[in-house]
């Protein structure tokens, strides 16, 4: 493939100088000449139609990528069709890949449309200097960041304050700068919340004509609540200053003061001065720069120190960091070294809560969605997906804290936590580990308890512990992940396969074509492997399913509750028919065991170390964990999470530097994050587009 990459990069270098934003005529013409006859209005071979492709790849990216991949792999045009020259094919593939690589794809799950080798080839990194830098942007607070902000401003969450923002509907990374918007219901809630917060800040009684402030209020505000006293300008300035510091972490400038005092005067014209004060204070909480974090950059193209402080704080902690604010005031957040020092300080300080560290792993693996998959509780298992999620959270936090070879360990660690909760010992004031769920002799009689899922016969406080050999390794075999990636009634081979293809192999899978009813046959006399294969191996389906099914099959080593299997189970129709009571009423299904098949296959990665058959999930995750490509794909996802956008070719140097920092620091996750948060991609802004 070296020749291919050389040709690709040569063409790319030429193409870069043109700064084309759309597919050029030659690219469109290639589709018309070689694709549309079989994929047009008269005929749609394999259900694929390409005649409507426009040159704008930001809309048609997935279809363009599919077409280019088919040509690159030599699968299209078919053998019996008129063949374009090898040069024409290469130019077509390169042109499509280049276009997809220089434009940011809006949706989180389209990030992989940027071909992996373009980002991680050394030559690609140097060529990338010529492409566009990150554009200036606004980034609305995430739901978690909004909650943290309310907590800081109101000294707790006042009763009546509710979340205005929904988590994104997309799979994977939820908080993308391009997608976060404020709609009408959210605007209404923001307004209502702001009024509630100020009401909390100014709670008071009037006793004998005097204001008596209540607990958890702000003195500078309650001083202005007297219905008879006229607030002085100094008092109003003091109140404004306090509210600005609480809401925005800065002092108001002259324009802010003038604007808000004018607003106060207008509101006070009716005579209700305390009312006017609360309205003015509420207005501060409703400013656009409270809801949207701005990253415009200064005259030198770098984020301003205040923007850096905001970005680093929210990126790691969801809330403002006081030391960063002070560093801005002292002019100590200017150089990359100073910024790196603060990132390291935050990462190293256990007292600073960093929910976004765990947050990435939740978005990436989505194991926390186990609680959303509703299942009937079996007779022999105490099914508690909430505890499974908590146990995985703890394992992730443990691996992050140890900070050794995190990528490999998250896939292959034999360690686990089982049925654990942490609480404070009253005598020693130290955190101690306790058994979280304790079975009730009546309700859980005859059911296996959560720790048994991990192979523990008796609960222990010596955790994490090593799970028995040949059972589970890493996060992909944690019960939480297995449940999250299952259906209500069975496992989910296809979606699990898609997870591996997209999140670890860096590939793409087209979305389900409109009009296709994806139904797994309900004939439970066959294993799920057989039932899925019976429909997805059809020629028209296999074009896409070949990228997924074989990657999901090894996880059939576990049932959909996350239990390890030593054999598979199918419905015994004959025995079920005979299983009736004395009145002939059915007594329920009878299952019979059949040999377990956990074989799978990795294909289509162009990496001989990765491609090949697999015998079980343990071999599978070990192979993934040892792959440079998989590690780099993981870093691409980290980039998306912390920068809130998809990577483009311009980010190749930042991504490569992050990978080098990780590998070169005994595979330290902290080193990776320091590199990423001090990269040009994070700190530099180009012109607006």
């Amino acid at each position: 493939m070296i020749w291919f990459r050389r040709v690709l990069l040569a063409v790319l270098a030429t193409a870069l100088s043109t700064h084309a934003t759309y597919a050029d005529d030659a690219t469109l013409s290639f589709v018309r000449r070689h694709c549309v006859e079989c994929h047009g209005d008269k005929k749609q071979a394999g259900g694929v139609r390409l005649d409507g492709l426009t040159g704008d790849m930001s809309n048609d990216g997935p279809r363009w990528m599919t077409a280019a991949e088919q040509v690159r792999r030599g699968l299209m045009p078919p053998e019996d069709a008129k063949q374009p020259s090898a040069t024409a094919k290469t130019e077509f593939v390169n042109s499509v890949r280049h276009e997809l690589a220089v434009r940011t794809q809006r949706k989180p799950n389209l990030g992989n449309l940027v071909a992996h080798e373009l980002l991680f080839e050394k030559a690609a990194a140097s060529n990338a200097q010529a492409t566009e830098a990150t554009a200036p942007r606004l980034w609305r607070l995430s739901p978690d960041a909004y909650s943290a902000w309310v907590n800081d401003v109101a000294c707790g969450t006042p009763k009546g304050v509710v979340q205005p923002f929904s988590a994104g509907a997309e799979r994977g990374v939820q908080d993308f700068a391009q997608l976060a918007r404020v709609d009408e219901p959210a605007a209404e809630i923001l307004l209502r919340n702001a009024l509630t917060i100020v009401k909390q800040q100014t709670r008071h009684d009037i006793v004998d004509g005097k204001v008596q402030a209540k607990n958890d209020t702000v003195r500078e505000f309650t001083d202005l609540m007297s219905p008879t006293a006229m607030p002085t300008r100094e008092q109003l300035l003091k109140a404004l200053s306090k509210q600005f510091r609480l809401a925005l972490g800065r002092e108001p400038d002259e324009a802010d003061v003038a604007h808000l005092l004018k607003f106060y005067e207008r509101c006070a014209s009716g005579g209700d001065r305390p009312g006017a004060v609360t309205t003015m204070l509420t207005a501060v909480l409703l400013r656009s720069d409270v809801i949207f974090r701005s990253e415009f950059g200064g005259p030198d193209g770098m984020l301003t120190p205040r923007e850096v402080a905001n970005a680093i704080s929210v990126t790691l902690c969801n809330r403002r960091d006081e030391a960063l604010r002070k560093a801005v005031d002292l002019g100590q957040l200017v150089t990359r070294e100073q910024i790196a020092e603060h990132v390291r300080r935050i990462l190293d300080d256990p007292k600073i809560a960093k929910p976004r560290l765990l947050g990435f792993f939740r978005d990436y693996f989505e194991y926390h969605k186990a609680v959303e998959v509703f299942k009937d509780e079996p007779k022999d298992l105490w099914h508690r997906p909430d505890q499974a999620v908590r146990d995985t959270d703890r394992l992730v936090l443990h691996l992050i804290a140890e900070d050794e070879d995190l990528f490999r360990r998250m896939l292959t660690t034999p360690l686990a936590f089982a049925n654990v909760k942490m609480s404070i010992d009253k005598a020693t004031r130290k955190e101690v580990m306790k058994r979280s769920l304790i079975p009730n002799a009546h309700n859980q009689r005859g059911k296996s308890v959560p720790e048994e899922l991990y192979g523990l016969k008796e609960w222990t406080d010596q955790q994490p512990f090593a799970q028995p050999a040949n059972t589970r390794l890493g996060l992909l075999m944690q019960p939480s992940w297995l449940i999250a990636w299952s259906e209500n009634f069975h496992t989910d081979i296809v979606r699990r396969g898609r997870f591996i293809r997209e999140r670890l192999l860096g590939g793409t899978v087209p979305d389900l074509p409109i009009g296709v009813a994806a139904m797994v046959p309900n004939d439970r006399t066959h294993t799920l492997r057989e039932r899925v294969s019976s429909v997805t191996r059809a020629e028209s389906c296999w074009k896409c399913h070949q990228h997924m099914d074989d990657l999901g099959l090894p996880f059939e080593n576990f049932d959909h509750y996350g239990r390890l299997l030593d054999q598979d189970w199918v419905l015994d129709a004959e025995a079920t028919a005979k299983n009736v009571d004395y009145k002939g009423k059915p007594k329920g299904d009878v299952l019979r065991g059949v040999p377990l098949d956990t074989a799978g296959l990795i294909s289509g990665t162009d990496d001989p170390k990765l491609d090949g058959p697999l015998k079980d999930p343990r071999e599978f995750v070990t192979r993934l964990a040892n792959s440079d490509r998989c590690r780099q794909v993981w870093i691409r996802h980290i980039f998306r999470y912390y920068l809130g956008r998809n990577e483009t070719l311009a980010d190749a140097p930042s991504l490569q530097a992050a990978d080098r920092a990780y590998v070169g620091s005994n595979r330290s996750y902290k080193a990776l994050l320091v590199s990423l948060l001090t990269s040009d991609s994070f700190l530099k802004r180009g012109p607006q587009r």
Partner: protein, 461 residues
Amino acid sequence: MIGKLTRRTALKGLSLGAGASLLQPLLAQIVAQAADGAAPKQRFVFVLQSNGINPNHIIPVGETLRKSNDPFPNSETIELSLADRELPDPIAPLSPFKKQMVLLQGLSGCMAEGGTGGHSTNHGALGCYPGSAGPMAQTIDCALGEAVPGIIRHVGLGVLEKKDQTLNYLLSCSGPGKAQPLQCAPEQAFRSLFSSVIGGNDRSAFEQKTSLLDFMTEDLRRARGALVGGERQKLDEYLAALETLHRRQGAIDAIKPSLIKAVPKLDEQFAKPTEVNRLQAQFEIATASIISGLTHSVTIASGGGHQNYLAFPDIGIPIGGHGIGHGETVDGLTTEQLFIKTRKFHCELIARMAAKLAEIREGNGTLLDHTLIVYLSDSGEAHHPNLRVWPVVLIGGMGGKLKLDGRYVQLPHYGVKQHRTLANLYLTLLSAAGQPRDKFGIPDNGLRDIDQSGDIRELRA
């Protein structure tokens, strides 16, 4: 009385007088809707009463469709006309509306169980998902409020045991993670909804909101000046949202005459806020909100969510619903008699609301012809429900889009192929409101072999 005022007349006058260009689009829409020949909007009122609705409470007098508390045996739909049948004692107050009613029996809602100690299904009752899942998706009251938007999309009202519990976040939801509050302090709800017309401090609150919207709009306009392209678009969307809210304030101000006519007199209830008075006040506020055109979707919850139950000492029910649910008795009344007395009181309030709506002419009929009242419990059929039967009473109309013609409809029992769930009822309502969907909530695992999609044929007009 506001019975003689037609919405068309009031709003026509308004559109000529209130010339503010900002209000024109919304006013035009409201006036067009009220004009002769135009189809009036549909309205929805969901009444949730905690502690379950005993299926026997909605079976017409003299019918033996069920042996005691056994499961319903029918595997085919049973339909009975109410014309020549009497309503049972618990719902007898609804008799004047027999011709505009369906007593719907046999729906299940097992997908909503879990997590609340076997009591309420919380958001699951209106959302068709587990009660333990929190506000995981939009509930039907908010979905219909969005499908047929009024000036305010959804008004939530409730009563909780303690007077200082002012908000109930356990039943309505406007989107994933967004619990929609039910205002449980009637006086506060009253002031918030009618602040534009009741003067004093409340008018100030209304004006404060308008001022803040002015400020936010101005602030956004300044901020967006420095931006171009996609980033500017983000602020434009926020700005558009604020302008809609601003227009709403204007629209509320513009329907001042209807509001003044509709605003209820509730001094007595506010002076003595007992459970009975609070619930009465909430029904009055809901009725006024519908009549004045403030909203097209209201939820009223009597208790509801987790273990929220009410006692009604004013009408001789001094013990709370939880005690009644566990068999407590009082003053010589059996548990069942207490249940019936409570039910009758709620039905009287519903009947009073329906009567008021029936007095107002709209289009070729009355406001009730275009208002669907859905009466159900957030805990299905019992204090500790199994949710295989979830009785529902439907009263009113959806402008002819739903067959509400005086019937008792008993659908096939749980597990039978033609069985229908609460989700099918909600899909029927969405479809009749012009917003058909393929599914609502999550499917019931116990019905995996049954098609759980689609509407309820027996309710189709």
